[in-house]
């Protein structure tokens, strides 16, 4: 009998040694560092963008083995970029729409990134050519490269390198296509005292149906409506609203003031809103567009700048929206004085 006992016990132990591993090892050893990918680039970013133009300015899904490479010029750490980053080589810069949060954790400033374009789609968003995935809904020309399986087979992490130096451009160069999507520095911008905000009326509080409830707070109105921050978070929006900043803005057949309720609150959707603050570079308007979800959205633009007694020099990504120059800050380190001192520390 004891034999049976021993045999069964031993059998039970050995039949399944693998499953005892976590029991005794408890914690496996730390994984190794992943090595950067080495890849042969065969196309420049400018050439890739040209393919869109050559396709009659229509989205093109790449069928050839095209590999572009560039260094990462943006970070989503401060939240002004979301689910995408820009890469740039000597010829141009382009937005890569990798649809994940916290991309800066895996794609570092200056790091080389290779994009194997076969199967991806190059498309346009209001003047900016991007690389993403096809969008069968037709709503946009590209959609996010979202699923990890697509990302891991198309976007490769190369070696780390020093961050890219921004190109200093002149007013005349603002509309050079080659500069769009590039990390640039633009000097001596004067505050232009205009804002543009697309906000939403939300009388029933369902936070839905934005399409019919948009209100435009724009440059037609008085000055900057007292919006002195780069953008506004939800709380900042409520603060501006309840302060009466937008009371004169037209909405439907009336004005925002009509939505004021007895307790001083407004029956208007409170969300974080992106703000375009207008600056002037010489005679050209540059809209500095900042997301309401950016960490610095509620940061005040320096008073001297608002007063017009000082200018700012900005470093970020030059973009275009339907022909108008726009500018995307990556963080507030990209905001300095005319003589090169940081405005923010």
């Amino acid at each position: 009998m004891k034999k049976l006992y021993t045999i069964l016990l031993t059998a039970a132990l050995c039949a399944s040694c693998e499953e005892f591993q976590p029991v005794f090892t408890l914690k496996p050893e730390a994984p190794e560092y992943q090595k950067p990918v080495e890849m042969e680039v065969n196309t420049t970013i400018a050439a890739l963008k040209d393919m869109y133009v050559a396709n009659g300015n229509k989205p093109i899904t790449i069928e050839d083995d095209i590999i572009v490479g560039g260094q990462v010029t943006t970070s989503d750490k401060d939240g002004n970029l979301y689910k995408s980053f820009y890469i740039q080589d000597e010829t141009a810069g382009i937005e890569v729409k990798v649809g994940k949060n916290g991309l800066y954790n895996e794609y570092k400033l200056g790091q080389w990134v290779y994009v194997k374009c076969e199967g991806l789609t190059v498309g346009d968003y209001n003047g900016m050519i991007q690389i993403g995935y096809s969008d069968p809904s037709g709503e946009y020309e590209t959609s996010y490269i979202e699923h990890s399986a697509i990302i891991n087979t198309h976007v490769f992490k190369g070696p780390y390198a020093e961050p890219v130096e921004p190109v200093v451009i002149t007013e005349a160069e603002l509309h050079d296509k080659v500069n769009l999507g590039r990390l640039v520095t633009i000097r001596d911008l004067k505050y232009d005292d205009h804002v543009f905000i697309l906000a939403y009326v939300d009388p029933n509080g369902d936070r839905k149906d934005y399409t019919n409830n948009g209100i435009f707070i724009d440059e037609e109105g008085p000055d900057n409506y007292g919006v002195t921050t780069w953008a506004c978070s939800e709380q900042k929006w409520v603060e501006y609203l309840e302060n009466g900043n937008f009371d004169s803005v037209e909405v439907g057949s009336g004005t925002v003031a009509d939505y004021r309720q007895e307790d001083g609150s407004y029956a208007i959707g409170s969300m974080a809103y992106a703000v375009s603050q207008y600056f002037r570079m010489g005679k050209t308007d540059v809209q500095v567009r900042t997301s309401g979800y950016a960490r610095f959205s509620d940061t005040e633009i320096p008073q001297e700048v608002l007063d017009g007694t000082a200018t700012v020099t900005l470093t970020g990504i030059l973009t275009e929206y339907k022909g108008a120059s726009q500018f995307t800050l990556i963080d507030l380190d990209g905001v300095i004085t005319a003589d090169g001192k940081p405005w923010y520390k």
Binding site: M1, Y5, L8, L9, A12, L13, S16, E18, E19, F20, Q21, P22, V23, F24, T25, L26, K27, P28, E29, A30, P31, E32, Y33, Q34, K77, G79, K100, N101, G102, N105, E106, K108, Y133, S134, D135, P136, S137, S143, E146, H147, S148, A149, I150, N152, N204, D206, R207, K208, D209, S233, E234, Q235, K236, Y293, A294, R295, F296, S297, D298, T299
Partner: protein, 986 residues
């Protein structure tokens, strides 16, 4: 001396001899006990016969005692039978006096009891808001419980539909249910099967000698050294459903001549299983006890035990994931690290319980005991935590094919190419996608340099701790007052302080983690003060704390609970008639004591002033009973007080011939638990509105028959539970924020019948046994809910009804041109045809078992059992039963939306087959060696849902007219599995 013995002796045959000379006559007396633990066996049928003719018969009393007098001198064959025990035959010689046999011990018939309750699956779903602790019934020599306690545990059967909290579990007379949640505390002594084997159980509304109990029975585990089965005992158990191996050793001295008894029990449970990868055990357990009897009247015992260890947990996934993997046992909690399986969800516990018990028996009729019991230690549960990085969970909905393409275009998921990408990696089970990708997470941390060149972890393992300090003082007394009256009563005091906090368990290759609230940061990224988990630290140091391994972070608070109660019961016995009445009164109070100041809810400073940082006022307010009060996270909350009272009545009549008819009724008033009382205890002191006691009315009627090997019980029960509250927190897509959802006024009704039987079946030693539980457990009220934003305490819905909670309307339809059309009345309103009830979930409302049991005189046993389970329902989420979710973004409710959103899923019926075999060998009457082999789910049915839950999330439709649900998540029962137990004792 008052005879405690209540004999119903039929001595008709003896009457003829009463005139005979005294010295020619004698008697026999004794106590029938269960060999395991010497627990008295009541109602054992004792038959004395000479030459095959019955001379006298009777039953043992409640205390197991029996007495026969007036027996002619001579040899008698005494047969003792009791349901659930192997009949015992003893030869007795009567020699002119009443011979005291002292103990007549019976061996429990249930050799299957070797397949013991250690095999109950221990699932923890607290993270998903899903309580899946199975109700544990204990074998009680009740034909129903004996079958259900083990046989129904795999399907997660909840007796009578009741939750685990309703089952009162006592240890040495102290109620052990968790002070914070009410859960039965089974895991405290799991693995100590021998030390806790000796127990007494009542069913339903029955009162016990140990405590008042509720409507779902009382189990008292004796746990004293003298109650542990005497001798050595070793066992080795292997099973394929939970852990591979259990080794156990036990020794108990029994009571030695010098009055000492001592006992110990140790065990180890280790390994994985055949079905769920990542689930493993590394659990140990110890029990040590010593007891001393002083004279005849005093007894002191000291016991300590714990079940330290850790085990990997399982997680529920959607059917889509299971189908893609081709495996309903898929577990998303683990991944490969350096090629080895690592589970992110590990429960780590070490909660020693120490108890000192003094028992006094000044005379045979009175027993009093005082017990002091202290539970302490740590209870941890690890989980992934991450900051500003991609969600690492493999079955996160954006990683699944259905996120990219759904046939119904209204889902606005149109990208079929991406769908195929996602489908491909799942179907090929590429581990970096289908499981946690530890290598990637480490590499993110390896490269996460901050401005000072230190590695700030983005992914960490956190350990959520629930550390209890639970002190109980309990006094109990029971006694016999005269022939007809016995009484019992007790006093209990409980002080519980449970600390809830998180600590960093593993930095996964990084150097530190920051103590900030990443959820708050979603909404308040621009306010450095509001995102602080520990605002005081931030203000003192100018930055959030950089956390090292082992540091506390996130939240930290005490749940403080004080409870006192007193109860008493009286039993009256007149012949076969018995009645008992029990009353209880109690007082409960609790409060939250926040140990850190959270940036979101700074409250007032020490001087009672508003809190501000950089000119921003951080103090916020909420309305409590119409009054504006600051919302606080640090310090004491309000302490609601509850006075409770309960009463029970039981009536019983014992007919001759083994029939017993009895009925019980009770009304209970229970304080809500701490866990139901705070809106968001992690972050603030706010109490759930409308907090009140839970009222329960319950009644049952029972018929039991035990005789000649027949053992049958039939019960009808009815219970109504009223004014329950429930608290949950979830991400609400309609609000784009994490919200708290407090629901109050939940009523439910449980009614049904219960049948258990074990009857001889044609062949000798063959019996047919079965159990049936057939009930209707439904929700009966329309509860109210208050929903708040977790980050701001902003009220979204204030005391609104949840109209589709208890039932959903079924609209009248007609087929017109092959299409289903909802019919309307003259006013154009849709016609409600009937209301579909909603059911208390996660247990079959119809459960049946039928089996054959054969045992030989050479100690073999064979058992074959067929089971049928039906009418089990999925746990509902209340959000889907609100007007808001049903109507959709357009605010218009249509019958299609009502049908879709409010319906409750019913699981398919299940048929299962199980078998057992076992054998015992006795060597030299001293050594006992045996095995039992239990085979579950012989047909390898892999489609048995045991539970799950609805996700609380909503999908916007392209049409903006309605919402769609996220897929529900399920747990499945394991396929074919075995349990082999080998034991040796002497």
């Amino acid at each position: 001396m008052i005879k405690k013995v209540l004999l119903t002796i039929a001595t008709i045959l003896l009457c003829a001899f009463t005139l005979m000379a005294q010295r020619d006559m004698g008697g026999v007396k004794g106590t029938v006990v269960n060999r395991a633990g010497r627990i008295p066996v009541a109602h054992a049928v004792i038959t004395l016969s000479q030459d095959g003719e019955t001379v006298a018969s009777g039953q043992s009393g409640e205390d197991g005692k029996f007495l026969f007098e007036g027996l002619l001198n001579g040899m008698y064959a005494m047969r003792v039978e009791a349901p659930g025990f192997v009949p015992s035959n003893v030869n007795v010689t009567v020699e002119g006096y009443v011979k005291d046999l002292i103990f007549v011990s019976l061996i429990a018939e249930q050799v299957v009891a070797e397949v013991d309750d250690s095999s109950f699956s221990e699932f923890d779903m607290d993270d998903s808001g899903y309580d899946d602790t199975p109700t544990i019934l204990f074998g009680t020599n009740d034909p129903y419980n004996d079958i259900v306690s083990f046989g129904f545990s795999n399907i997660r059967f909840k007796n009578r539909g009741y939750t685990s909290e309703s089952q009162d579990v006592y240890l040495a007379g102290v109620r052990m249910n968790d002070a914070v949640t009410g859960y039965s505390p089974y895991s405290l002594w799991s693995g100590l099967n021998e030390a806790t084997r000796s127990k007494e159980t009542t069913i339903g509304n029955e009162t016990s000698d140990y405590g008042f109990g509720g409507y779902n029975g009382v189990t008292n585990i004796h746990a004293t050294p003298s109650s542990v089965r005497r001798g050595w005992r070793f066992s080795a158990l292997s099973n394929s459903a939970l852990y591979r191996l259990r080794l156990m050793a036990t020794y108990a001295s029994g009571e030695l001549d010098n009055g000492w008894s001592y006992a110990f029990n140790v065990s180890a449970r280790v390994g994985g299983n055949d079905w769920v990868k990542g689930v493993y055990y590394r659990n140990f357990a110890y029990y040590a006890g010593v007891e001393k009897k002083f004279g005849d009247a005093h007894r002191l015992s000291l016991v300590t035990f714990a079940a330290p260890g850790q085990r990997g947990a399982q997680n529920a996934s959607t059917q889509e994931v299971y189908d893609l993997m081709g495996d309903n046992m898929y577990n998303s909690n683990w991944g490969y690290q350096n090629g080895k399986v690592r589970n992110a969800r590990v429960r780590k516990t070490f909660e020693p319980v120490t108890m000192l018990k003094y028992t006094a028996t000044p005379n045979e009729d009175v027993e009093a005991a005082i017990t002091v019991l202290w539970r302490t230690g740590k209870n941890g549960y690890t989980a992934m935590d991450w900051y500003d990085a991609a969600d690492p969970r493999p079955d996160y909905y954006r990683n699944l094919p259905s996120y990219y393409w759904v046939e119904n275009e209204d889902y606005d998921r149109l990208n079929k190419e991406k769908y195929y990408w996602a489908k491909d990696v799942w179907e090929h089970d590429l581990p970096e996608y289908t499981h946690l990708d530890w290598d990637r997470l480490y590499n993110v941390n390896y490269n996460s340099y901050d401005d000072f060149g230190r590695l700030r972890s983005k992914y960490v393992i956190e350990e959520r701790r629930v550390d209890q300090n639970d002190l109980n003082i309990n006094a109990n007394v029971k006694g016999q007052l005269g022939r007809h009256v016995s009484m019992a009563g007790g006093l209990n005091f409980r002080i519980n302080r449970t600390e809830y906090y998180k600590k960093v368990d593993d930095l996964l290759g990084g150097e530190y983690y920051l103590n900030i609230d990443s959820f708050a940061e979603r909404d308040f990224a621009s306010s450095p003060a509001m995102v602080q988990n520990d605002l005081d630290y931030f203000i003192a140091h100018g930055e959030a704390k950089a956390l090292s391994r082992g540091d506390k972070y996130g939240y930290d608070y005490y749940a403080q609970i004080r409870n006192a109660n007193a109860w008493a019961k009286v039993d009256l016995t007149f012949g076969g008639f018995k009645a008992n009445l029990a009353l209880e009164g109690g007082y409960t109070t609790f409060w939250r004591d926040g140990l850190v100041r959270k940036g979101l809810f700074a409250g007032l400073d020490d001087n009672g002033n508003e809190f501000s940082y950089n000119g921003q006022v951080l103090t916020t307010y909420e309305k409590v009973n119409g009054e504006l009060k600051p919302i606080t996270s640090k310090g004491r909350s309000e302490a609601p007080e509850f006075y409770t009272y309960s009463a029970k009545l039981g009536l019983q009549y014992q007919f001759t011939g083994g029939h017993r008819l009895y009925a019980n009724a009770g009304y209970f008033n229970d304080a809500p638990t701490f866990s139901q009382a705070f809106i968001s205890p992690r972050t603030r002191n706010s109490l759930v509105p409308n907090l009140e006691t839970v009222k329960t009315a319950s009644a049952d009627i029972n018929w039991q028959y035990s005789n000649n090997g027949y053992n049958i019980r039939l019960t009808g029960f009815w219970t109504k539970i009223m004014d329950q509250t429930d608290m949950m927190s979830f991400y609400d897509d309609s609000q784009n924020s994490f919200t708290n959802f407090a629901m109050s006024g939940i009523d439910q009704r449980h009614m049904g019948i219960e049948l258990g039987f074990s009857i001889p079946f044609f062949v000798k030693n063959l019996s047919l046994q079965g159990a049936l539980s057939w009930g209707e457990y439904i929700y009966t009220s329309t509860p109210r809910m208050t929903q708040t934003v977790d980050n701001s305490a902003e009220v979204i819905f204030d005391n609104q009804i949840v109209p589709y909670w208890a039932a959903s309307p079924v609209f009248k339809t007609a087929m017109i041109n092959g299409e289903t059309v909802y019919q309307t009345d003259a006013n154009g309103d849709y016609i409600v045809d009937r209301w579909q009830k909603h059911y208390v979930p996660s247990t079959p409302q119809l459960a049946g078992s039928l089996g054959l049991n054969y045992r030989t005189n050479s100690y073999w046993f064979f058992e074959l059992e067929a089971q049928y389970f039906a009418d089990s329902y999925l746990d509902m989420n209340p959000l889907y039963r609100t007007d808001m979710a049903v109507a959709g973004p357009d605010g218009i409710t249509t019958p299609v939306e009502v049908d879709y959103m409010t319906a409750q899923e019913r699981f398919d019926p299940v048929f299962l087959l199980n078998a057992s075999v076992g054998k015992s060998w006795y060597i030299d009457r001293k050594y006992n060696f045996g095995f039992s082999l239990n085979l579950q789910n012989l047909t390898n049915n892999l489609g048995v849902k045991t539970g799950g839950y609805e996700q609380t999330r909503l999908i916007d439709s392209a049409s903006m007219e309605r919402y769609y649900r996220f897929d529900s998540k399920y747990f499945y029962m394991q396929g074919f599995n075995y349990m082999l137990n080998l034991y040796f004792r002497f």
